[in-house]
């Protein structure tokens, strides 16, 4: 992992593209923001590649940085207060729900409607099949915090989805 060259980066991007994109997509309001986060994560990796020690470390690093980039994006005042002209038009037409909807993706859409702090633990637990211990170490949180985030997040999702999906 110490050799920093274009080949290594290409391999990493190909291997982890879907993982990073899915995390950022599950966290962000729309595809454009998810794509911004995606690029930012890999560009950050270029400058930190020599600090990566193993494959596991790389995966954890990518998850953590994607999560941090998304949080940074949420905390940005501009992003919280500025809407695109397209958003405005949708709102005028009564179609606005803050999130891009993909046909048939009702759970993904529901996940985007719960607060952002619950999204990553739920995604990592249910999609990446990571244990609570792994999630806690990746996100630098206590295991008890992860457990409670998962519990509350699942409750919120249940309320949104009600009869649509069985948990």
């Amino acid at each position: 992992m110490k050799s920093k060259n274009n080949f290594v980066m290409d391999e990493i991007i190909e291997k982890y593209a879907d993982m990073v994109y899915r995390i950022s997509f599950s966290m962000m309001k729309n595809e454009a923001d998810a794509q911004d986060i995606f690029q930012e994560v890999f560009l950050r990796l270029v400058t930190n590649l020599d600090k990566i020690e193993s494959e596991e470390h790389l995966k954890a690093w990518l998850i953590r940085v994607t999560s941090n980039c998304a949080k940074k994006h949420f905390s940005n005042y501009w992003n919280n207060h500025v809407y695109s002209f397209e958003d405005f038009e949708m709102q005028e037409q009564g179609e606005y729900d803050n999130y891009e909807r993909v046909e048939g993706n009702c759970v993904v859409d529901a996940l985007k409607q719960i607060p952002e702090k619950y999204r990553i633990p739920i995604h990592l637990f249910y999609y990446e099949q990571m244990s609570i211990k792994e999630i806690a170490s990746t996100l630098n949180k206590k295991e008890s915090s992860v457990k409670s985030l998962l519990f509350r997040g699942r409750d919120l999702l249940k309320n949104i989805l009600k009869d649509e999906v069985a948990f």
Partner: protein, 158 residues
Amino acid sequence: MNRYQKEMDNIHAPRELIESTKLKCKESITTKNQNNKWNKKIIYWLPAVSAAIVFITVLGIGFGGQNYLKNTNMHLGNKEIILNSNEQIIMKDISFIPMEFADKDVVTRRINDKEVLIVSNKKGFYKACIKKEHNYLLIESQYTDLEDFLQYLDMTIK
């Protein structure tokens, strides 16, 4: 949550995004390598440049010390030149040669093709006399080294 897994399985990073990210990363790697090269060059040359600056400064101070007469600001007024707080040079136009230049200890020197009489009564106190068209120019120095005094004469007498 099987439904969530199925939905997520259908989501993939767009190919265009992957390719553009690869391209940006390549650019970033190139920039980083260039910066590293510059950093290495700077790290290599910094001590050498610093040493050169110190050397030039020391050299400059050395020469400056020797040639301070050339570099000192001279306040010219009534033909009195103050080189610094102690050293002083006074220039006077006189109509006759002072008696002290008739002494046997008088030294004659040619400075810039002009004959100059130099006499010293006390260490650090020198007098020089140069013949002008109808009178004489007397140059007196106080608290000055002979070498500095001669250097000053060399600069003054044209």
